[in-house]
Amino acid sequence: MSNSLSDALRSKNDVEIAELFRARPDLISPVPADIGALAARANSMPSVMRACEALNKWQFDILTALCALSEPISLIELLAVTSKDAQATVHELEAKALIYKDGEHYRVPTNVRTLIGDTPAGLGPRGTATLDFGLLATAPKGALEILERMMWGPPKGQIADIKKAPAHIKWLLENKFLLAFDSQTVLLPREVAMHLRNGKIFKEIVPTQPPLKGTSRKQKDVDQAAIANISTIIRWVEELAHNWSDEPPTALRSGGLGVRDLKHSAEHLGIDEGCAAFVAEVTYIAGLVVIDSDDAILPTSAFDIWLSRSMDEKWYALACLWLESSRMSGLVGRGDSKSVSALGPELDRPGTPTLKKLTLALLSANPELDPELASMHENISWLAPARANSSYTEWILREAEWLGLSGQGAISTFGKRFLESDDLGIDDALPKPVDHILIQSDNSAIAPGPLTLEVANAMGTIADIESRGGATVYRFSETSIRRGLDHGQTGEAIIDFLRKTSKTPMPQPLEYLIVDVAKRHGRLRVGVATSYIRCEDEGLIAQIIHDRKLDGFGLRKLAPQVLIAESESAELISTLREAGYLPAAENQTGVLVSAPKLRRSKSRPKPPRSLTEPAAPLDVAIDAALRSLRVGEKATSHKPREVPRTSANETVELLHHYIAERSTLTIGYADTNGGVSNRMIEPKSISLGTLVAFDHSSGEIIHFRIPRITGVSLAE
């Protein structure tokens, strides 16, 4: 009896078990009850898959090779078919419980074998016959070509008909160099393939990671580019949130940002849609925007806190969340039906954080190098063959660049510090915020650097932004000034603020513009009134407004001869009358109406029901009632209400018989749910498997399907 995985695990000491837990953290939560449970879990498919995904190409190849050998596997045999470097790897795999020891030999747990598949490394099943490879020298023409085509797998070949196989294939089959699987399929036995592969399982097997190739960069240039990217991404994020605060997009029903909104955001930021999707995603995962319950996408209160934080903190938050997020923004718009949307539910891809970490680690290990995409992908494929995807690699590289983790493709100092959890030093590297602007005579103002939050907010309300970047160009216009006034500023306050903030003298036309707009702003007032009182006698108006009895109407004097009230005109009129005045109503055009307008409900008439005495019925109605009564009688008098049962042949025969006799019949009829009911009918004819008959209970001609008729009997 061979050893099992649980036996193997049982023989491990605590250190080794701890190592296993570290290598495969999913085994420890929840803590298994005993070693048997641990072994079961270690051999469970999800756990095996997870463990295999974490292998690099070399480890995976060795594991595949192990699966290709017959159990129990000897180390010597493995080294012979792979490479002598494999020894250490076998120990690693064993430590991960992906193989286990059986004495001096090794075995592979069943699910690992299942995962690797029936044809590991493209090797077919073992043959049973002993083979004479010497014969191959005398193989007929074409036979060797067939073998060569199949030697690296897949080991299956299709032919038209094995009985009429051409001579060379026949020869191969006769000499057992091929096995017949079925009448159209041949297999290359494992031994033959191994012989053809010169006793090695893999064409080539790389025990070490390939070197990363690319263009070399200067760290100074890299950091310059990175800092530009860092300030840009933070500006984009804030700009996007501000934009969405002004014009909140509505989320799609499936969740996520619509194509049109994405396009709009991209245009607003002046970037392409791929980049806009990324900005939207980081803004979303940073919790700065949220999809509200009414589907509006709006900035959260966290965004206000965010605005007050330092650049270091802002960037650190973005970089951290990006790194840990499993969302792949590059997928946006790439779905087969273009349905994958930013902020949507379809962006999660397992393994994304691992790929991101691997990518950054690779960049970090190769400073001042802007790697070629192909080389990067080759490396990732070696490190995580199960997860590598060239599109993902490309997207992760460009996202790292957008974030400023890299600059000009190479890892930036900030990226490195981020990975080493060092002080980022971004605030020092970025230009210092300025607290002044330069106003020019063409009504534009320029902030020659990033503005302090306070000035930026104030400028945002009174001017429109024309150009963004290291500096900001603002333009003052009538609309922008009006917006400032709408926000509660006054003309003087705006002028004071600009005088204080501008390093250049305030141009006179701008001052005039502000004064002009302020002068006109609010000159027209709009409010709500329900009714009004007008009177040419101003004394009377004064008397009414001071009349205590009319206090509850919220009367307000708009002009010497006009009062407005918050109540309906009818109510106002009656109260005025009670108070001893003599009001009259007027209509929309000011014409006096002699009586108050009659009030009407807007709903349609809906009179209540009443209980009335029945009138004598019409003769027709009585006739109909009688007929119905009779039928009912006929139907119910058929007692006991047994469902007639006849065999199928009998049924048809009886029906034909009674159609000829024009009798009234009782049939059992099954409904679509299988329930059987009694029907009293007068059969008319049979056609196409249906019986056409008059049904007494409904008083109609009905088509009955004959197979559903359970039985027929003559009605009594």
Binding site: Q224, A225, I227, A228, N229, S231, T232, G270, E401, G407, Q408, A429, P431, L438, Q440, S441, D442, N443, S444, I446, P448, G449, S467, R468, G469, G470, A471, V473, T504, P507, Q508, P509, Y512, L513, D516, R520
Partner: protein, 550 residues
């Protein structure tokens, strides 16, 4: 982080801090590839456009040079994406080439078959092309050179034109620098044009664009067709050419409503070129009358549409466009560039002013408060009549007269749009009025009297908006205009910008009715000048009327 004078914005505008020590160096360096957009007092705005970058390529600058320049002068880190974009844009230039084939005439050549394939599949481009000779060469239908270049530009694959220009009929022309010498910027502009082959030179009014034209002719030494706005301008050109070049009177012809002379140098008016008889432009043949070596378009911002179309046909001739204000309210600036050629030279107005070649100007907006009766009439006027109403009110008239009286010792021009308004002003000021129906002879007589100082005040309609050279006018009073036209405002200011003998500054008054559409239009009109650094001052009409002399 350097502390350079340039801020590179992510929308591809470049902000140049003119007060910075390195501003001048930087301006020179970026002028090669960026287009000057505006130049107010403190920060000038340039823009990186594909066209500008391709022109830089054409002039021999490569992407690396452009990027190095930006990095060198930039105050902040330059976004990497922008640099990549510059390199990519510039690499598109020259993949397609127009060449003269010894057998097949004009051909489109590219060593990149994919690009060739892409452009030939374009619906607009396919009809312009003929047979494909091989993988890299396609015949271009004769006469389509201009349209093809324009269409390729729109597709983003500008063709490098190696087909060259026809030299035209040789004619000896040289500058005659006797008692004057060509200014440095004029020479640079002419050279910039000559080097590029075709294009537009932008210089402020009064900065001597005629001399640039003459210098270009001296470079070409060939028969020249000059297109100008009107007969008076044509005669001014003629006089100027006689004074500045070796040309004789009988070498210069005038092709206008009055005369139809075709000489080695012919000056034609746009009006006669676009005149139609039986639905045909009967005078467009002038373009083929002589094998012209150079065609000059004066005031190219006014280029009328038929001439636009014709220009596309004559791509093999050298073309020079001259203007002070390349802004068209119809947004056709792009057409001018693609048909005449790119901007070859542009310089901020204030820069020429600081060199003393144009007079410093004080722009004043006079806010006129309408009387209550006028306001009421204005409010009830039909929307389309409102501008006319508010810009011709009696109050404005009174203010205009008062202003003119204030400056009665100086040479005053009163400029307006509405003829009855001008007639009334002429009457009250006792000044002659020049408008569309004034005969050319009479116009010339009045202008000459004015130049001689015998008339102190002239009232002119929009016929005097441009091209009229009145060196001693110092005061312009604008009472009404063509709605919000930016270039009209600038051109009118241009009438008083010729440097004065005594170094005096010029003053430009614009009368604006307060709280009316006049004020909105004025704000738009002033934008071009404000962007050139002319800061308007606003005064109240009452200050004029009640003697607080400003």
């Amino acid at each position: 982080m350097s502390d350079g004078p340039l801020i590179v914005q992510s929308d591809k505008t470049l902000l140049l801090d003119v007060d910075h020590l390195l501003a001048d160096d930087c301006r020179r360096a970026i002028a090669a590839f960026a287009e000057l957009e505006k130049s107010p007092e403190h920060i000038h705005t340039y823009r990186l456009t594909p066209l500008g970058l391709w022109n830089a390529r054409a002039a021999g600058h490569d992407a690396e040079h452009v990027i190095d320049t930006l990095l060198k002068y930039s105050r902040f880190a330059v976004p990497h994406a922008l640099l990549v974009d510059i390199a990519e844009t510039m690499s598109r230039y020259g993949r397609l080439r127009l060449e003269a084939h010894p057998v097949h005439g004009l051909v489109l050549v590219s060593h990149d078959p994919a690009v060739l394939k892409e452009v030939t599949r374009g619906k607009k481009i396919a009809p312009m092309l003929g047979l494909q000779l091989d993988d890299e060469t396609i015949i271009v239908h004769p006469g389509q050179r201009g349209f093809l270049k324009q269409a390729l530009l729109k597709l983003g694959w500008p063709a490098e034109d190696f087909a060259g220009y026809v030299d035209g009929e040789h004619h000896e022309i040289a500058l005659r620098e006797e008692g004057w010498s060509i200014r440095k910027y004029q020479a640079m502009a002419a050279e910039g044009f000559w080097h590029g082959g075709s294009g537009v030179v932008v210089l402020p009014c009064g900065a001597g664009k005629t001399i640039v034209g003459a210098a270009a002719m001296a470079h070409a030494k060939a028969t020249t067709l000059i297109l100008v706005t009107n007969t008076v301008a044509a005669r001014q050109w003629r006089d100027e050419l006689l004074r500045r070049t070796t040309l004789h009177e009988d070498e210069i012809g005038e092709y206008s409503g009055a005369k139809k002379e075709i000489r080695p140098v012919t000056i034609a008016t746009y009006q006669v070129m676009t005149m139609r008889r039986n639905g045909l432009y009967s005078h467009l043949d002038l373009f083929d009358a002589i094998d012209w070596g150079l065609i000059i378009y004066d005031e190219v911002h006014l280029l009328p549409a038929p001439i636009f179309r014709f220009t596309a046909d004559i791509q093999s001739r050298r073309r020079l466009g001259l203007t002070a204000t390349l802004v068209r309210e119809d947004g056709m600036e792009g057409e001018v560039f693609s048909l005449i050629g790119p901007k070859r030279f542009d310089v901020p107005w204030k820069e020429i002013e600081s060199q003393g070649y144009i007079a410093p100007a004080d722009c004043v907006e006079v806010r006129v408060t309408l009387t209550d009766a006028e306001r009421l009439n204005y409010a009830t006027a039909e929307v389309e009549d409102r501008y006319r109403f508010c810009s011709t009110t009696a109050t404005k008239h009174k203010v205009a007269v008062a202003l003119a009286k204030q400056h009665e010792d100086e040479q005053v021009l009163v400029i307006g749009q509405y003829l009855d308004q001008l007639d009334a002003l002429g009457e009250d000021l006792g000044a002659p009025v020049i408008k569309g129906d004034t005969p050319v002879k009479e116009r010339e007589r009045l202008f000459n009297l004015y130049r001689a100082g015998e008339i102190k005040c002239l009232v002119v309609s929009k016929v005097a908006n441009f091209s009229i050279d009145l060196p001693d006018a110092t005061i312009a009073i604008q009472v009404s205009g063509t709605f919000g036209s930016r270039q009209e405002e600038a051109q009118r200011l241009g009438r008083v910008l010729r440097p004065k003998a005594d170094g005096r500054g010029a003053r430009f008054y614009s009368l604006v009715a307060r709280d009316t559409v006049d004020q909105d239009f004025a704000a738009n009109r002033q934008r071009f000048l404000a962007e050139q650094g002319y800061a308007y001052r606003i005064i109240d009409a009452d200050d004029v009327l009640f003697g607080n002399r400003s």
